[in-house]
């Protein structure tokens, strides 16, 4: 009986291992082919590279304008995520501690708006911000991410602020803290695990977002990594080698971060789903 169980365990393990290999196989293909020449890629995409040739990377790196794309993406992602985390936490805190009718309705409106798909907003968004000459500008994009990201963040924070005892804040106020000081010294640090969750969910979304930046950022210096990948691919469709290298260069930063923060990222997604 025990032996049967052990062999069941093993067969389960092997089935899952095969599944996992099939799952990551596209990435393996990408890595393998990024070192090969065009001819070798089209002739036998499965074979290993003949030599460790970095030429594809060099050409992708310059043609994609990788440095500029990477810098833009980092600036946009970091600032948007910081703004969303801090400002949404403040809003959620205010809503929980000041339970007026107005606040309740506003909170409800924010939650309800989460059901609006981006496609229902994009056309008027482009028109309004275009008329105000606010397009093609990363600061507008960051501001828009704050607008689109805050409903979910306020919603998640709202649930956790409720679990913080109000006495904790009252004690701080008696000791002479203002509301703002109380928030930043007591409440926000207590909310840190929730902030990590919110940051992870938003980084995954904003780093890889395509449609919104493609509508907002029109000039090539402003492009984010997904945008430069898209235009690079459109221009050099037959150059498979550099294309593979370019795709890998786009994925690489996220993979490196994931390697180190994998536990937090998976936990963050879990926490985000339970609310």
């Amino acid at each position: 009986m025990k032996r049967l169980k052990a062999s069941m365990e093993w067969s389960k393990f092997i089935v899952l291992l095969v599944g996992l290999i099939a799952f990551v196989f596209p990435f393996i293909l990408l890595i393998v082919n990024s070192f090969k020449e065009n001819k070798a890629i089209t002739a036998s995409p499965l074979s290993l590279p003949a030599s460790f040739n970095l030429a594809n990377y060099e050409s992708a790196f310059t043609k994609m304008n990788y440095v500029s794309g990477f810098t833009n993406t980092v600036i946009i992602t970091v600032l948007s995520v910081l703004l969303i985390s801090v400002l949404a936490a403040m809003t959620a805190h205010f809503f929980v501690r000041n339970q007026s009718k107005f606040n309740q309705y506003t909170f409800f409106l924010m939650v309800a708006a989460m059901i609006i798909p981006f496609q229902a907003i994009m056309i008027p968004l482009v028109k309004v911000y275009g008329n105000l000459h606010l397009l093609d500008n990363k600061w507008s994009l960051i501001y828009m991410y704050l607008g689109f990201g805050s409903p979910l963040a306020v919603f998640i924070y709202h649930g956790f602020v409720k679990s913080i005892p109000a006495e904790l804040e009252e004690a701080a106020m008696i000791d002479g803290c203002t509301r703002t000081q109380t928030f930043f010294r007591i409440v926000f640090p207590v909310l840190a695990p929730t902030s990590v969750t919110i940051a992870i969910l938003n980084v995954l979304w904003i780093w890889n977002d395509f449609l919104l930046p493609s509508l907002v950022l029109t000039s090539s210096e402003q492009r984010t990594l997904p945008l430069s990948t898209f235009y690079f691919y459109g221009t050099y469709t037959v150059d498979y080698g550099p294309l593979m290298a370019g795709l890998l260069l786009t994925i690489l930063p996220v993979l490196i971060v994931y390697l180190f923060a994998q536990k937090f990222i998976i936990q963050g997604v879990m926490q985000g789903s339970i609310k």
Partner: protein, 294 residues
């Protein structure tokens, strides 16, 4: 005086704490949404500064736009098949990866990887696989199924899209199901084992009913994401061959920004919003009824 000072400081606090998010939320989501409703009644072409009110003409166009309804029907088919497959695969993965298998956190981390990468890149990677790698395998081994590119034939291109979608989202939903499975009370499961319940019976009569909240979240999330699929559609098939895989989100984009039919495009976007909102609300309403207390 004191009360006035109180009023001002209260107002200042409110502005400081809720001002930035509410202002951004209102100007980025609410104003464009309402303005979008107004736009559906005009014939704005995207360039001219004036536009005239045309009443319900745009909605009449939507009604008659056969391509829109074709892509809507196609999207529905895609959503139903992929939501079902994503959730079945994700649940099975989660079920096997929370049974105390060795290396299970390594496996979970591996299956999650596709979610780190955006739809644009995933689409390009799979385009290469479908039109080069599989074709090359097919020609060398003589397997007819892979002889020609899947992306060149409408039916196969559709299933290519589904395969990539399942591959992309199964890991994400798996993580949520794992969280749900960890919340199934251990003592109840032990009691069932002592009473001699088989693994299958435990799954059917205890785990599945207790997991309803996770199913609600996952189906809701996968519905939202698949309904709005754009990046993947754009880079994997470009809607082709011959618009046979053009999903509704891509259709709206083309209508507005490429055909410069903003009024009709926005009307289609609103029709889409109403249908999606209706479907997701119905889904949450009916699945809430299935929830049980542990």
């Amino acid at each position: 005086m004191i009360s006035e000072k109180g009023l001002w400081s209260r107002l200042w606090l409110r502005l400081l704490f809720t001002g930035p998010t509410l202002f951004a939320f209102a100007t980025v989501m609410i104003v464009p949404f309402l303005y979008g409703i107004y736009l559906t009644f005009t014939n704005w072409d995207g360039i001219s500064t004036t536009s005239t009110m045309v009443g319900f003409e745009n909605y009449a166009h939507v009604w008659k736009d056969a391509v829109f309804w074709k892509s809507f029907y196609l999207t529905l088919k895609y959503v139903v098949i992929s939501v079902a497959l994503v959730n079945v695969v994700a649940f099975l993965l989660a079920y096997f990866l929370s049974s105390g298998l060795r290396g299970q956190s390594f496996f979970r981390a591996g299956f999650f990887i596709p979610n780190l990468v955006g739809g644009i890149v995933l689409g390009f990677v799979w385009q290469f696989i479908f039109s080069n790698v599989l074709v090359s395998i097919g020609q060398k081994s003589g397997i007819a199924l892979f002889g020609t590119s899947w992306l060149a034939e409408p039916d196969k291109a559709f299933f290519a899209l589904i395969i990539v979608t399942v591959w992309q989202y199964a890991g994400y939903m798996m993580v949520i199901y794992v969280a749900g499975l960890m919340n199934v009370p251990k003592d109840i499961m032990e009691a069932a084992s002592i009473d001699g319940a088989t693994a299958f019976r435990k799954l059917r009569t205890m785990i599945l009913p207790l997991m309803v909240p996770s199913f609600i979240v996952c189906v809701f999330l996968s519905l939202q994401r698949t309904f709005m699929v754009y990046d993947l559609n754009l880079t994997l098939t470009k809607g082709g061959p011959f618009k046979s895989t053009e999903m509704v989100s891509m259709h709206v984009y083309e209508k507005a920004f490429l055909s410069r039919d903003y009024g009709v495009g926005q009307a289609e976007a609103l029709v889409l919003f109403l249908l999606v909102a209706g479907i997701t609300l119905l889904q949450v309403y009916f699945s809430k009824k299935l929830e049980v207390e542990a």
